[in-house]
């Protein structure tokens, strides 16, 4: 691939910055969406653990 193909005349900087921005935007979406889901999974796990602990404490108090 020649330098001329990468430079695209005087438009290289415009074209490459658009593709770069798009890449950043799409990568952000992948990580943000995954983080959101993982955060909710962790919250759900925490709630389950807390519910189990309080159940255990109740049983210990009763016995």
């Amino acid at each position: 691939m020649s330098m001329a193909a990468l430079q695209m005349g005087k438009y290289g900087v415009y074209v490459w910055s658009c593709y770069g921005l798009t890449l950043i935007g799409l990568l952000f979406l992948v990580f943000a969406a995954r983080r959101q889901r993982q955060h909710e999974v962790l919250q759900a796990k925490r709630r389950i653990r807390m519910a189990e602990q309080s159940q255990q404490t109740d049983m210990e108090v009763r016995s």
């Binding site: 691939m1 695209m8 005087k10 074209v15 593709y19 798009t22 959101q36 889901r37 919250q43 796990k45």
Partner: protein, 244 residues
Amino acid sequence: MNWVWFHKLASPPTAYAFARALRPWLLWPSILMMLWASYAGLFVVPPDYQQLDAYRIIFVHVPAASMSLMVYSMMAIAAGIGLIWHMKLAHAVAAACVLPGTVFTVLALATGAIWGKPMWGAWWAWDPRLTTELILLFLYLGYMALRASFDDIGRADRASAVLALVGLVNIPIIKYSVVWWNSLHQGKTLSMFGKSSIDPTMVAPLLVMLLAFLMFFGAILCDGLCAQILRRERHAQWLLKQVS
């Protein structure tokens, strides 16, 4: 017609499992398609006779702009279904649409501004297409802010659904702004029924990129939907099996 499958899919456990299973089948092919379309758009197809190499921005600008409109329409329709039929999953779909929709709109505006500089000599013009697309960004941001202002998910769903439905009027205005008014922005490039205004060699990478963006959005929606279902079904028994 048998609608049992639809009602089954509308149940949160089935939708959660379906979204989790579907996500990789959308994400990885979309990435491969984007890579191919980018390579073809940047290096294979010939330069435009008028815009020379600057037109290559079209392969990311048009898919981002199309998705910004499509995602908003989908968000508003899902919110409307949730509002009318009290379907929680529809509200979850609407809420999961807002982040990708906002990013697609920002990308459409940013790549449009960068394309505008060498072609029009200005980063921005108060042109009907650009202005209505900017309003779309404010609608997405407003929807996000409105949802965040409620602690109760039910109230957030109802209030944001009304905003999404009101904002739907902006979509045909964006789409037909280049037809209704004298616009600096060029007319439509692709036509579903008539002849497209670009050379046939440029159509294939553009169509592949459009499909890739659509599938990519599907993958992101799957993740967002899973997060929304987990938040809404926090006390459900089926969740125990899924996350433990």
